[in-house]
């Protein structure tokens, strides 16, 4: 059997706060091959923290525990900070949620992409620049030459998101965690961005974790979906089986959306059962 790309077993992330401890992620387990995995759940359910724990970017006041946390067979829990840094950006990477805040406002697109590339490749600045150009082209940015010289605030939301993706993909990573890559975008731009990611998985055989709170979207995009609630995975399903979901939370999530094809008044609402969080 080939080793899966990512193995997570019983992952927990807790934060120490002045008022006590917050358990953000509690006993999450999953494995990921070279496929598309979606993670959905409401705000604060621990989606992002799961992704960050994988990359080793949990905030200072947080602690990560797990039975196993591995990337391509490498035990991430044992790896030194240096080893993890070598993995980060080159083999595993993450597209951050909002390009407006996630790009460095005082560095040009070129500086930021080149920096990402040269952090892992011993290449000249010019070579790195060429690679950046090619990368921007591959995420289908018009006039990549011009865009390279721009600062983040000069980019539109869609461009920024694509720059972000280009920057994270330039090293040809094997795992991409995309944290709500489209939440800042207009519905019409959203499709464009997702299609780019989709193509990369298909073409490069990359593993993709798509984090979102939009159940419908994730289901139509991914192979497999994890539903999180209060730091736990409450349900794991195949995307095509979404409408056969068993857990009341998942069912509630699907049901409570207003839909164009069904006019329901009033909308069904979610009755939270405290037992879900246990």
């Amino acid at each position: 059997m080939t080793t899966p790309l990512v193995e997570v077993e019983d992952l927990s992330v807790g934060f120490d706060l002045p008022d006590g401890r917050v358990e953000a992620v509690r006993g999450v387990s999953f494995t990921l091959g070279r496929e598309r995995l979606g993670i959905v759940g409401e705000s604060g359910s621990g989606k992002s923290q799961t992704g960050r724990a994988l990359l080793g970017l949990t905030a200072k006041n947080g602690t990560v525990t797990a039975k196993r946390l591995a990337f391509d067979g490498i035990d991430l829990l044992r790896a030194s900070e240096r080893e993890r840094r070598a993995l980060r950006g080159s083999r595993m990477t993450m597209v951050m949620q909002d390009p407006r805040y996630s790009l460095n406002p005082v560095m040009t697109v070129e500086q930021q992409i080149v920096e990402a590339y040269r952090a892992h490749r011993r290449v000249s600045r010019a070579e790195a620049r060429d690679a950046a150009l090619a990368m921007l082209q591959s995420v289908r940015i018009d006039q990549p030459q011009r865009v390279l010289a721009l600062y983040p605030h000069e980019l539109s939301g869609g461009m920024g998101q694509r720059v972000m993706i280009a920057m994270m993909l330039i090293t040809g990573p094997e795992l991409l965690i995309a944290d709500e890559p489209t939440s800042a975008l207009d519905v019409t731009v959203r499709g464009d961005v997702l299609r780019i990611l989709d193509a990369l998985v298909a073409e490069r055989g990359m593993g993709l974790i798509l984090i979102s709170h939009d159940l419908e979207l994730v289901a139509s995009f991914c192979d497999c979906v994890l539903v999180m609630y209060a730091g736990r995975i409450v349900e794991e399903l195949r995307a095509d089986a979404l409408h056969d979901a068993k857990h009341p939370y998942t069912r509630g999530l699907i049901g409570c959306l207003p839909r164009l094809d069904r006019d329901r008044h009033p909308l069904p609402v979610l009755d939270r059962d405290p037992a879900w969080a246990l």
């Binding site: 960050r52 990359l55 970017l57 840094r85 070598a86 993995l87 980060r88 950006g89 080159s90 990477t93 993450m94 951050m96 949620q97 909002d98 805040y101 996630s102 790009l103 460095n104 406002p105 005082v106 560095m107 040009t108 920096e115 990402a116 952090a119 892992h120 600062y151 605030h153 000069e154 972000m164 920057m167 994270m168």
Partner: protein
């Protein structure tokens, strides 16, 4: 201590101003300068009239006869109606004629040319020291916030805020000059080196270098070091605190995580990404602290027998030598406004969002 977060406060306004373009910027600057200076002229005039000091006394002394007193009073235009006095004062100030200082008998302009460079020298080195040490300290404190090191930096800074400067100054003199002999004593230069450089800029270090007098240069530096360190300590206290606060703020931003996601080293993340962003408001902090030092620190100047603009203005004020007060105040005010503009310009250079 008069430094403040107003450095940051000015941000939104400046962004707006930035949009007006360079030309508008210069015109705006000149207008601001003019208005500020006019304000200073008015305020100094009022001060001159309300201080309960007879300006004639500074000229004639206590023993003059009544006739001499009356004549000098008339010469000084003090018997004219107030409004008329103000008109003359204003016209003179506008035409750049600050008249003569009673105390030094020199044209005020000349005085400023000698006293202000002394202060600039001191303030510049002080700010340099404060910045070069303060920023790294602030960075370390931010990176290890909550740690022992952080507490140490904080206490060091707070001590800087809390200790009377004349106390610290005398103690430093006693230790580093009298006991340890590491630095030269009060004053700007050893008497042996006096007259060896001709004043051009008025800053002895600069003049000495320009004229190739390395020995004089080092002597001047050795005189400069102690008071500059002292002033540097005070700006360090402020700069390190602001650096810490600003950097902590930046370190909480998403783009820092992005940088880490890229696999960059922590050093690069902090110095190249976070600090580069913090540098934008930090610049204003440094410039403001510099501007404050340029006002001259009367107390430091007294302790170190430093002929700077601070004690010049204070001394003049105590003698109701209003020409000198006005000249000194205007120069300091103009320096303040100019520095503000400079920081605005640099701000635009550093922050692409304002271009």
């Amino acid at each position: 201590m008069s430094l403040d977060q107003s450095a940051l406060a000015a941000r939104p306004e400046r962004r707006g101003a930035a949009a007006l373009g360079l030309l508008g910027g210069i015109a705006g600057f000149l207008l601001t300068l003019a208005i500020t200076l006019l304000g200073l002229v008015v305020v100094t005039f009022v001060i001159g009239r309300v201080v309960p000091i007879d300006p004639v006394l500074a000229v004639v002394g206590d023993r003059a006869s009544g006739d001499v007193y009356a004549r000098v009073r008339a010469e000084m235009g003090l018997d004219l109606p107030l409004l008329e006095q103000f008109r003359i004062y204003l016209v003179k100030a506008v035409t750049g004629d600050f008249g003569r200082s009673v105390l030094t008998t020199n044209p005020v302009i000349d005085d400023i040319r000698t006293y202000f460079p002394a202060t600039i020298e001191l303030a510049t080195l002080g700010t340099l020291i404060g910045t070069v040490i303060g920023i790294p300290l602030g960075v370390f404190a931010a990176v290890r916030s909550g740690s022992f090191l952080d507490q140490v930096v904080r206490i060091v800074g707070l001590v800087g805020y809390s200790v009377p400067i004349f106390w610290l100054g005398l103690m430093a003199l006693l230790l580093f000059y009298a006991r340890l002999d590491w630095v030269a004593g009060p004053g700007r230069l050893d008497i042996a080196y006096d007259y060896m450089v001709t004043p051009v800029t008025g800053m002895i270090t600069v003049d000495a270098l320009m004229q190739g007098q390395t020995e004089v240069f080092w002597n001047a530096v050795s005189h400069l070091v102690l008071p500059a360190c002292l002033l540097g300590y005070f700006s360090l206290a402020y700069i390190s605190r602001m650096t810490r606060a600003l950097l902590l703020n930046e370190l909480g931003q998403e783009y820092v995580i992005t940088a880490r996601v890229k696999g960059l080293s922590e050093t690069r993340v902090i110095w190249r990404h976070a600090l580069r962003n913090a540098a934008v408001p930090l610049l204003t902090v440094v410039v403001l602290s510099y501007a404050t030092l340029l006002e001259g620190s009367v107390l430091t100047e007294t302790v170190f027998a430093w002929p700077g603009i601070g004690s010049y203005i204070t001394n003049s004020l105590q003698n109701a030598d209003m020409n000198a007060v006005l000249g000194g105040t205007l120069v300091v005010g103009a320096a303040f406004v100019t520095l503000n503009l400079l920081s605005d310009l640099l701000y635009r250079l550093l922050d692409p969002r304002t271009r």
